[in-house]
Symmetry: C2
Subunit: 393 residues, 2 copies
C-alpha cells in the first residue's frame, strides 16, 4: 500500500433541475462576473443555457459567453477565451457541458490567473501558481473533469494533446442533472461510459500493494457502470441508469479509486491521446480500440490484478483455469461488453488504419511526454508502445 493524498473539494449538487442553482452557487463561490463556456448548439437548443443564464441573472452574477468548445478541445479557443475574459473582466468560469468544455474553462482559468503562455503548463515547462475558480453544469457523463484536477487540451498547430493536472483547477461546484444527458447520441453515451470505466481501470491495473477498500470501491463502480451502460443501450431515457453513470463519472476520476495505489498506469490514455491528436477520434472509442491490445501485452506484469478483475468485475468462473486463462477471459469479457455498447475493439473498427510511419509518429509523441517510458501494470518503452499500436491496428 502506498501513501496517498486525497483531495476532492468540489461541492456536488445532484438531481433534477439542478441547473437552476448555478447562479446561487456561483455567487456563493464569490463570482461577480462569469464567463459561461459551452460547446455546440445542443445546450442552446435544449434551453439549458437559457436556464443557467437566468439563474445567474437572478443571483446578480453578470456574465459573458464563449461557445464552440469541441471534443479534443482546441488551444486556439482557450486563447480566445482568455482574451475575451480579460476584456470582460470576469472573475469566474462557468462550464456548461462535458469534459471538453470543462477542460477549456480550466485552461482559461489558468491563463487568467498566471502570466505568460498557458500552453507552457501543458508542456510541463512551468507549474501554475493560481487558477480562477471554475464551476460546472454537467451535460455529459464521461471525462470526470467536473471533480478532477485534470485538463486536457489539443494544440491544433502542433497536433499535440497534453494534460495539466493541478488541484488548483478542481471545480468549486458541479451541478449534475441526469436528465440533461438523456438526449446524447447513443455513440456518445457509450464513449462516455467507456471513459468512466477506464479512469478506474487505469488506477486498478497497478503494481504495489493496493488497498482492499479501494479495490472494492473500484470493482463496485465498474460493475455499476457496466450494468447501466447496457441498460442505456436499450433505454437511453432511463433516469436511474443515467444517474448511476453520471455519479460514477465523478467518483471514477476524483481520486477515490486510486487511494493507496501508485498513481495509476494511464498508458491506455496516453496511447489514445496521440490517436486523438492525429485523427480526432472520440476519446472513449479510442480507449476501447486500444485497451484490449494493451491488456494482453501487459497482463503478465500484474497477473494477480487481471485475475481479480476478471472474477470480481466480470464474474469469470475461475475453476479449472490457469491464471492466464482467467485473465484472458476477463479481457475478452470486457471486449464483448464494448461490442454490446457499440464500441470498437481495434483501430480498424474505430475507422482509422495508421501506416507504420503514423504509428512511429504516435510512438514518438508518447515518448516526448514520457521520455523514461511509462506504465505501472508493466513499465513500457518505445518498442512496447509500437507493438501495442500494431496489435490494435
Amino acid at each position: 500500500m502506498f501513501d496517498f493524498t486525497y483531495y476532492a473539494p468540489t461541492k456536488v449538487v445532484f438531481g433534477r433541475g439542478g441547473e437552476a442553482k448555478a447562479g446561487q452557487l456561483a455567487a456563493a463561490a464569490g463570482a461577480t462576473k462569469a464567463l459561461v463556456c459551452y460547446g455546440g448548439g445542443s445546450v442552446v437548443r435544449s434551453g439549458v443555457l437559457d436556464r443557467v443564464l437566468a439563474s445567474l441573472d437572478e443571483a446578480g452574477v453578470a456574465h459573458a459567453e464563449l461557445g464552440g468548445a469541441q471534443p479534443n478541445p482546441r488551444l486556439s479557443l482557450v486563447y480566445e477565451g482568455i482574451e475575451k475574459a480579460r476584456a470582460e473582466g470576469v472573475d469566474f468560469l462557468l462550464a456548461v457541458g462535458g469534459g471538453s468544455v470543462i477542460d477549456t474553462a480550466k485552461a482559461i482559468a489558468y491563463g487568467l490567473a498566471n502570466e505568460g503562455d498557458v500552453w507552457d503548463f501543458y508542456l510541463k515547462k512551468r507549474t501554475p501558481e493560481a487558477c480562477l475558480p471554475v464551476g460546472v453544469v454537467l451535460t455529459i457523463a464521461a471525462a470526470g473533469s467536473e471533480m478532477s484536477n485534470s485538463s486536457v487540451i489539443s494544440n491544433e498547430d502542433t497536433q499535440e494533446k497534453r494534460s495539466c493536472n493541478n488541484d488548483l483547477a478542481r471545480p468549486r461546484f458541479a451541478i449534475m442533472n441526469p436528465e440533461l444527458t438523456m438526449t446524447l447520441p447513443d455513440y456518445q453515451t457509450a464513449c462516455g461510459n467507456t471513459d468512466i470505466m477506464m479512469h478506474t481501470m487505469e488506477r486498478y491495473f497497478t503494481q504495489g500493494g493496493n488497498m482492499e477498500l479501494t479495490d472494492g470501491i473500484a470493482e463496485a463502480l465498474l460493475r455499476t457502470v457496466r450494468d447501466n451502460a447496457l441498460i442505456l443501450v436499450e433505454h437511453p431515457d432511463d433516469y436511474d441508469a443515467r444517474a448511476e453513470v453520471m455519479w460514477a463519472s465523478s467518483v471514477s476520476h476524483n481520486g477515490l479509486t486510486g487511494c493507496g495505489n501508485d498513481g495509476g498506469d494511464f498508458v491506455s490514455h496516453n496511447l489514445e491521446h496521440q490517436m486523438g491528436a492525429l485523427y480526432d477520434v472520440a476519446h472513449g472509442a479510442g480507449l476501447a480500440a486500444v485497451w484490449g491490445s494493451w491488456a494482453r501485452y501487459v497482463m503478465d506484469g500484474c497477473l494477480d490484478r487481471f485475475v481479480k478483475y476478471a472474477v470480481n468485475v466480470w464474474g469469470v468462473d475461475a475453476s479449472g483455469k490457469t491464471d492466464e486463462e482467467i485473465a484472458l477471459a476477463g479481457i475478452e469479457a470486457t471486449e464483448d461488453f464494448y461490442r454490446k455498447i457499440g464500441m470498437p475493439t481495434n483501430m480498424r473498427e474505430l475507422g482509422i488504419e495508421p501506416t507504420d510511419e503514423e504509428i512511429d509518429r504516435m510512438v514518438q509523441m508518447v515518448m516526448d511526454t514520457n521520455p523514461k517510458g511509462r506504465g505501472s501494470a508493466k513499465h513500457l518503452y518505445a518498442d512496447d508502445f509500437r507493438a501495442i499500436y500494431q496489435m490494435a491496428r
Copy 2:
C-alpha cells in the same frame, strides 16, 4: 433515488509519518496561532504531540494547548477551550486525537466564530453562521469526524448528548498515519470498527430508491472493515489492516455511502446517544449492544435492504430461505461478528441494566430531539423506542 449534495472538501494526507506535515498544512490553511486539542496522556507519552508541536514551530505557526478531551466529550471543556483560545488569540484549531478531540475542537471553533452560547447550536436553537478552520491529526479510527460535518458534545449538567451537523465544520485537512492507532487497547479498536461500520449501515437501511453505486461502495466498505477488524483481533500491529479501517472511517462518514439515499436512519445512533449520556458507555460498544434489537424490530420495514445486506455483505446463502430468514441470518451474522471482536450484543453484556424508569427517561430524551419520531428503515415513535430498549436490555 433521491437528489443529494455531496461535499467533502477535507484534504487527506495518508501514510506513515504524516504528523510531521501538520505545521505546513496548518500554515497553508492560514493558521498563525493554533489551539492544539488532545485527550489523555497517550499522545504525550507516544511523542506524537511533540512531533506535531515541532512541526508547527518549524512552519512558524504559534500554538497553545488544551488537553483533557474524553470520550463523550464534555461541554465544560468546550467552554474552557473557547475562553483559552480567546485569551491566546488563536485563529486555527488543531485536533490531535479521535472523534472526541475533533468534536471538541469543532465546538470550540463554532464558539469562537459566533456570538452567544455555543450549546444553542447543539440544541438546534440557532444555526452557526461561521466556524474557525479545523485541522486533524487522527489517532483513532472510528468516528469519521475527520471528514464529517458532525460534532457530538455531552452536557454533563443536563446529561444531554447532542450533535451539530454543519458543513462549516468540515476539517480543512486530516492527517492519517495508521501507525498511530497501533497502540490502542483492543476494546477501543473494536469499538472503533463497530462505529465505522455503523455509519454506513445507518445510511444503508433506508427506504427510497437507493443508488446501485452507493450500495456497492457501502457493501465493499462493510466487507473490508469486517475482514480487517478480525485481522486486528489477532494482529493489532498489522499496518495494512490499520490503514484499511482508518481510511474506511473517513469514507464511511463523509457522506459518500449515503448518496442517493434519504439522509440515513440513525436511530441506532440516537438510541446509543442516550445510553452514552446516562451511563458513559463506549460509543461503539453501545451501538453494538442496541443494533441487533433495532434490526429485528424494523426489518419488516425494509426487508429488501436487509436481504441485500445479508447476501452481499455476509455471504448468506439465500437458497431455500424466505426473505425473513435471509434477513435474520444477516442480523445474526452481524452479531456473531460482534462477539468475535469482543463487542456486546445487548445492554447486559455492555455492563448496564437500565430500570424501566431509566428506559423511560432515555425514550423521553430520544423524543426531546425527535418530537415527530425518527427513522427511515421504519419510522419509529416513543413506544417503538421503548420496545427496542427493552429488547436490548
